[in-house]
């Protein structure tokens, strides 16, 4: 073979030197006055602008603190976020911080950095965090995640005020106006009144669109109903009490009655079915965050302008609001924990929280009661004030709840994801079982969740 004067060894050497030389400036740039890179995985918001504001806030903080903040948005469609969390937990590698859905901080508590210092500083500034978030994020006395603003939601009644007035005789805008007062009839807003209204609307051909399947919308609202009857499926110690708890039986009897006046197909509904029922004008009331109204405003403005959000009806134990928060958590294997804590504290501050909530048209719920007064909830419309009563206000006399609390989280998460509460109702209402038979079934399932 003819030689061209360059040996293979020389060519390889020149290549290595070239790569090293080209990489050198990058190394130098990072080494000069930066606090490294922070890789964040946030929830991919339903509201498109919700991602933009997170990117903006991270950029501002990164610039100020000389940290290169890399932001990824991970969708919850197809449970991609859960799969990502499971993969990173197994690999002990990935992002520095992630947005964890409700039950994940306790599931991965051993791999999450305690954030007590950040949470305590925030509590000092803004008052206590709601107890439902504390139940989900605190393990063995330590906060394993910070309840987020972005993505945290409540599922309160979104009703058609015209249909409720016409068929149920309830003027819900007077009951729950866009001010901090309880209007006439607000004190009677309980599950009995709700059932009567549901029966009347069903008779009028606009039944309440309440899902009863295995998706979160169904499990959350049924969980809140049971909680308002003070029902405990499993107690704090992990003992299965579903068969003996009077609240469970009372809640179940109520649910069986209510299910008679719901659409026939609610047992197969997913999280979008109730939205469609409202937007198509077929339903007088659903439980949902303001996303239902926001989509109606886009697709069916004549429906949107007749919608009104109001607090949950009260049960014997008071009003319980279905709450589904996200948490920002820092992996214990993160290489930049200090920066991660700094960013999360910044994102949780009032100014940042208000920007997130405003951008999401009021969808995002901050974990602090002191932040329930952002102007967006008063000004959003039409009709103006439609989402005023979406966050919990002091005059609502309500508290957030999570289905299956106060059971130990590792048992409750299984009951939640396998929708034991809606299936319990279905066993009686659709399966033809007696209440005792259905409670026996639930007890057997729950006992097995605690084993192993």
């Amino acid at each position: 073979m003819a030689s061209n004067g360059i040996t293979r060894r020389a060519a390889l050497g020149a290549g290595v030197a070239g790569v090293a030389a080209s990489a050198l400036p990058l190394v130098n740039i990072h080494a000069q006055g930066t606090a490294g890179t922070l890789r964040c995985g946030f929830w991919d918001h339903w509201v498109p602008a919700g991602n933009g504001i997170m990117r903006e806030l991270c950029g501002e903080w990164g610039e100020k603190n000389h940290v290169n903040v890399q932001v990824d948005f991970i969708t919850s469609v197809g449970n991609q976020n859960l799969l990502t969390i499971a993969a990173q937990a197994q690999a002990r590698s990935g992002h520095d911080l992630l947005a964890f859905p409700a039950w994940e901080p306790s599931a991965h508590a051993d791999l999450l950095e305690p954030v007590d210092d950040v949470v305590n500083r925030l509590i000092e500034k803004y008052g206590p965090i709601n107890t439902a978030a504390e139940y989900l994020a605190k393990r063995e006395g330590h906060w394993r995640g910070i309840p987020t603003v972005s993505g945290s939601q409540q599922k309160v009644p979104c009703a058609r005020f015209d249909l409720m007035q016409e068929h149920a005789g309830l003027d819900i805008r007077k009951m729950w106006p866009a001010t901090d007062v309880r209007g006439p009839g607000a004190d009677d807003w309980n599950w009995a009144t709700f059932l009567t209204a549901a029966q009347k609307c069903h008779a009028a051909g606009v039944p309440f669109g309440l899902p009863m399947g295995a998706f979160t919308d169904a499990v959350d609202w049924v969980g809140a109903l049971f909680a308002s009857y003070n029902a405990k499926f499993i107690d704090e110690a992990g003992k299965v009490t579903v068969k003996t708890d009077p609240g469970v039986r009372a809640g179940l009897e109520y649910m069986v009655e209510l299910s008679k006046v719901l659409p026939d197909d609610v047992w197969a509904w997913d999280d979008a079915s109730n939205n469609r029922a409202l937007i198509s004008g077929r339903s007088a009331l659903i439980f949902n965050p303001p996303s239902a109204w926001a989509v109606a405003r886009r697709d069916s403005p004549e429906v949107a302008e007749k919608c009104w959000y109001m607090p949950m009806p009260a049960g014997p134990a008071g009003a319980r609001v279905p709450y589904l928060p996200y948490f920002w958590g820092i992996w214990s294997f993160s290489r930049n924990k200090t920066a991660a804590k700094g960013l999360l504290e910044f994102l949780s501050e009032r100014g940042s929280a208000e920007r997130q909530t405003t951008t999401s048209s009021g969808y995002d719920i901050p974990p602090f009661a002191s932040m329930s007064d952002f102007p967006i909830w008063k000004t959003e419309g039409p009709p103006v004030g439609v989402v005023y009563n979406y966050p919990i206000k002091p005059h609502h006399h309500a508290t957030q709840s999570v289905a299956f609390a106060p059971a130990p989280a590792e048992i409750a998460v299984q009951a939640y994801n396998q929708a034991i509460n809606t299936k319990l109702v279905a066993h009686v209402a659709k399966g033809g079982e007696t209440i005792d038979q259905a409670l026996d079934w639930a007890a057997r399932e729950l006992r097995n969740f605690a084993r192993g």
Binding site: G213, V266, N417, K430, G452
Partner: protein, 312 residues
């Protein structure tokens, strides 16, 4: 030391012998075969043996994955009403879907085989469409047709004054719906396999049967089926395994509902393992059918091998 007093150095000859034996070793056919199959062995080891072994290991851990509980997860599962339902449903789903796919595929293959070869290609292409569309996507289309509130099938039924069917809301209708979609998706695979088998049956056999006065049914029974027996066995085995492991159709259509009455192993394993945070029990669910399917596969493949040897 040599007889003449000189020192004999043995090392070079030992070195030469070593090089020679290494050369012989590398030239042996078994060594070459091993070296050439090494990439495949590595792929199988990395992508099949390791994940399977890891899944078995996971299934023996407790919920927190901190200690080994042996077969405890399987014991708990067998004590769970829902899991027994999942076993029952998976069997109904897989067996009925595979039977339907096999029969429809067989019928379609015969119909195609009868079409002159000139026009056969376009029909073959059209009938293969369900099989080439990604199932998650096509199932979404079916879901719109079965949608609880806005089903297009129900709309058509209503036009003919037939009451709406709760496709996904009632247990047996929901089971039927997932089977229908699976059959729609999988029948073309059977069709194409059976068509290939039909084309390989020698025409002389049919001619001989015709001379003997065999009827159509007799030709099917004594010529076609024996000649297709191996391909039928392998296709049914393959499809049974894939159908037992099906995930996307049930996940998109019913998510296991109503009341867990349409869950199959894969969807239940995902719900238990990933959604409910109990990875070891989810692994146990997904491994449950492995021994039964392995035994079934062993006997089917043994039968195929035996028949092949007899034919030779």
């Amino acid at each position: 030391m040599a007889a003449d007093g000189s020192i004999v150095t043995l090392e070079p000859s030992i070195g030469r012998r070593g090089v020679a034996s290494l050369r012989r070793f590398t030239r042996r056919r078994s060594t070459i075969a091993f070296l050439m199959t090494t990439p495949l062995l590595l792929v199988i080891g990395g992508l099949v043996v390791y994940p399977a072994g890891y899944a078995i290991y996971l299934s023996t851990l407790n919920r927190r994955m901190t200690s080994n509980i042996g077969l405890g997860n399987f014991e708990i599962l067998l004590d769970t009403d829902t899991f027994w339902m999942v076993i029952w449903q998976s069997c109904i789903f897989a067996v009925s879907a595979v039977l339907a796919k096999a029969m429809i595929g067989f019928w379609l293959a015969h119909k195609l085989h009868d079409i002159p070869s000139k026009g056969q290609r376009k029909w073959r292409g059209m009938l293969l469409i369900p099989w080439v569309i990604p199932p998650a996507l096509s199932t979404l289309g079916w879901w719109w047709m079965f949608d609880p509130s806005y089903s297009s099938i129900n709309y058509l039924l209503n036009v003919f004054a037939v009451p709406a069917v709760p496709w996904l809301g009632e247990a047996w209708w929901a089971r039927l719906s997932v089977i229908i979609v699976n059959v729609w998706y999988g029948a073309p695979f059977f069709m194409i396999m059976y068509l290939a088998a039909l084309k390989s049956v020698p025409e002389q056999l049919y001619e001989a049967a015709a001379i003997d006065g065999a009827t159509g049914m007799q030709r099917l029974r004594y010529v076609t089926l024996p000649m297709m027996r191996n391909i039928i066995s392998i296709t049914v085995l393959f499809s049974l395994i894939v159908t037992f492991a099906n995930y996307d159709i049930v996940r998109v259509l019913t998510n296991g509902g109503p009341r867990d009455l349409t869950h199959v192993f894969a969807t239940y394993a995902f719900q238990v393992g990933i959604l409910s945070g109990n990875v070891p029990r989810g692994a146990a669910v997904s491994l449950f059918m492995f021994p039964l399917l392995a035994i079934f596969a062993f006997f089917v493949l043994r039968g195929v091998t035996k028949r092949t040897k007899e034919e030779q």
